[in-house]
């Protein structure tokens, strides 16, 4: 089963991107303590995002006429692998590059493409995604926030929550109810682009358990949107969102959330010279799993490169990958505190606790574990 997921290799022309992106990343993280690097997904640095854009590392899969590179999913794999394994701050461009630009490219009007995509590719238009609402997390079909059709466009009222990076973003792509009622489920949902500087938009940060504030509540009170805020056709929002989530789940980002901690721990072991059997087995076990997950992620990327949408396969890699990401801080914590006479540096301790505390989010963002397993079960023909 799932036999199409088979070992594939990265094409040499995409591997060739590695030295240049690596150099750029190395400069960006050179002075960052390890626990800042461990934030990678949450690390916001607008200047770095612009540098990536100028160097041609954003919009890798997008058409050249909109400022993209027309390279394909393997190129993105290489660049994202380099960014995340070094712990580069990717939050600025992350969502725009990964989700918003492909969405606008696939479903948007020519005018929308021409207006937004070149700026995304330069790292100059930052996006967030408004899906979750109070009461609607995994059950996205129940969203209540409405955009009413008016003579000149749309009138927006309601609230979004857990919108990552909305504080720093220029735009939100919001999933909204444009017709019918929440009971109508998938029918009547649409995606609209909201300029977050418009009157009536209020953004209130939500401080997380690590003291960071990367997500927020966003309130809409009689926000007036122009006609051309709609992406694609009215009522097609559900179909678009589903395709978008499949794209979000299939990348290398589902393996590497704890890799900065893993590397810091390995450095600690090298410095202390500890090499008993239990330690070696632990290092080796993580290494074998990392290698296998990487092979699975590249295999998934190969399906994308063939133009497929490997929804089930991506769910499979994401669930196994986030399990690995979550197990690392637990095991490394036990290992370090299991050797109380061999103290970890303050930096390593801070990194460990940071990753430990945010780890629950690894299997929440982009689809919870239980929902993904339901998708896999459907792929197995069980439902």
């Amino acid at each position: 089963m799932f036999d199409t997921l088979a070992l594939a290799s990265l094409p040499p022309e995409d591997e060739a991107l590695r030295p240049a992106i690596r150099e750029l990343v190395a400069r960006a993280v050179a002075d960052m303590p390890v626990d800042r690097r461990a934030r990678s997904w949450q690390g916001f640095d607008a200047a770095f995002s612009r540098r990536l854009g100028q160097a041609g590392f954003l919009g890798l899969n997008l058409p050249k006429r909109y400022g993209g590179q027309e390279r394909g999913p393997f190129a993105r794999f290489v660049v994202v692998e380099e960014l995340l394994s070094a712990g580069a701050p990717v939050a600025g461009h992350w969502i725009a590059d990964r989700q918003s630009a492909p969405l606008i490219c696939n479903y948007g009007t020519e005018a929308q493409r021409a207006f937004y995509i070149p700026r995304i590719c330069k790292g100059e238009a930052l996006f967030c995604i408004g899906m979750s609402e109070p009461g609607s997390g995994s059950d996205l079909a129940s969203v209540r926030t409405r955009a009413e059709k008016t003579a000149t466009g749309w009138l927006l009222n309601g609230q979004k929550i857990w919108t990552t990076n909305s504080l720093h973003s220029d735009y939100m792509i919001a999933l909204l109810r444009t017709s019918g009622k929440p009971e109508d489920r998938h029918a009547g949902l649409s995606q609209l682009i909201v300029d977050l500087r418009l009157p009536g938009v209020t953004i209130r940060p939500i401080v997380d358990l690590t003291g960071d504030a990367h997500f927020a509540e966003v309130f809409f009170e009689n926000v007036e949107l122009a006609d051309d805020a709609l992406i694609g056709r009215e009522g097609e929002g559900w179909k678009q969102v589903t395709a978008e989530l499949a794209f979000e789940r299939s990348g290398p980002e589902r393996i590497y959330s704890s890799v900065v901690l893993l590397d810091a721990w390995v450095r600690h072991l090298r410095e202390t010279g500890r090499a008993d059997d239990a330690t070696l087995a632990m290092v080796g076990g993580f290494t074998a799993r990392l290698a296998t997950l990487r092979a699975m992620s590249i295999a998934c990327t190969a399906r994308l490169a063939l133009g497929e949408s490997p929804v089930v396969e991506a769910s499979l890699v994401k669930d196994l990958g986030t399990h690995f990401e979550q197990e690392l801080p637990v095991a490394i914590g036990d290992d370090l505190a299991g050797h109380p006479d061999e103290p970890a540096s303050t930096e390593l301790y801070r990194t460990l606790l940071y990753v430990t505390q945010v780890a629950p989010s690894f299997s929440l963002r982009g689809g919870t574990r239980e929902i993904l397993r339901g998708i896999i079960a459907r792929g197995l023909g069980l439902r």
């Binding site: 088979a6 080796g284 990487r294 339901g374």
Partner: protein, 326 residues
């Protein structure tokens, strides 16, 4: 050659020579001679042997799907070992015997559990400081006492007679590990198919048990482990015929660590019928458990991999790229 062109005739052959009834017969002591004759005549045993020596000269990556098929069909003879042994013998200019060849790591005077030891005619023995192709009769071979098992507890009191082709750099074990990993991935795939089909058929409380979310969640994890086994085995077989230590370790670590979980879920979903002898599930779960222990378990390979990893100053991703994906 397209991998399906190779795999399809091989699968067809295994379906006729290695049905569950035939597997049971061999496990209960019937001769495997006619089954072996088919394999010899098929030419597949020389798949890895260079063309200059009369073989097909295929790469390990080409042969890996065949090794997985062996696991999927619970083939009761050491086909993968014989294919790998014939390659090593051909490289050394030694004529291969006709019969099945098993792999063993055994110093004189030391017992070793040898997969397929009860049905092999020859054993390629890794003595630690060299290899010998010994006849089974030259040593002592006893059943392990495990019901249905084809493994033997073997021992040679002195260095056995026989040709001594040079051992690969790290001995036989990396080759054994990757062929075992592929067979385990195959057995795991068969178990996933059987278990999913059973969950769709078996009705309790008025509906198929596979409609229960709790079962669906467990089967999804089983599918994840099964796919991980396949990719790990493919990684192990991606290099030359003699795999690197890091590639072999990755393949066997992941398949061995997954094996117990996969077998446990298969049995849990099947309920009582799964533990009966007459039901086929045990043919595959027993093999997974035996093969997990054969050629080094997950912790054995993890230690080797961990030592190599710690010896380098590279980041984890760089190290894996350079050593496992090389």
């Amino acid at each position: 050659m397209d991998s399906n062109e190779l795999l399809e005739p091989f699968e067809r052959m295994l379906e006729t020579i290695s049905s569950p009834a035939q597997v049971r017969a061999v496990e209960q002591g019937a001769s495997a001679a006619s089954l072996w004759d088919e394999l010899v005549q098929s030419g597949f045993l020389d798949a890895l042997v260079p063309e200059s020596a009369g073989g097909a000269g295929l790469a390990l990556a080409d042969v890996e799907p065949l090794w997985r098929a062996l696991g999927r069909h619970a083939v009761p003879v050491p086909v993968a070992e014989t294919m790998a042994a014939r390659f090593l013998l051909a490289e050394a200019g030694v004529d291969a015997p006709q019969g099945p060849i098993a792999f063993a790591a055994a110093r004189p005077g030391q017992d070793a559990i040898v997969p397929f030891g009860l049905v092999a005619e020859h054993v390629l023995v890794d003595l630690g400081d060299g290899m010998v192709l010994a006849s089974v009769a030259s040593g002592q071979a006893e059943p392990t006492g495990v019901a249905g098992s084809l493994a033997a507890r073997m021992r040679w009191d002195r260095v056995p007679d026989g040709p001594g082709p040079p051992a690969p750099e790290h001995g036989l074990r990396p080759m054994a590990a990757v062929l075992r990993a592929a067979a385990m991935a195959g057995a795991a795939a068969r178990l996933l198919d059987m278990t999913t089909a059973y969950a769709n058929e078996r009705v309790q409380f008025g509906k198929p048990i596979g409609r229960q979310q709790a079962l669906q969640q467990n089967l999804a994890v089983m599918a994840e482990d099964t796919v991980a086994c396949r990719l790990a085995a493919q990684l192990g077989c991606a290099g030359g015929v003699v795999p690197t230590l890091a590639a072999a370790a990755t393949a066997k670590s992941v398949t061995s660590a997954s094996a117990a979980r996969i077998a446990a879920t298969a049995h849990a979903v099947h309920g009582a019928i799964g533990v009966s002898e007459e039901y086929d599930l045990q043919l595959y779960t027993r093999r997974l458990h035996e093969w997990r222990l054969a050629d080094g378990s997950e912790s054995y390979w993890n230690r080797l991999l961990g030592r190599a990893r710690l010896a380098s100053g590279d980041s984890s991703v760089d190290w894996v790229r350079a050593q496992v994906f090389a």
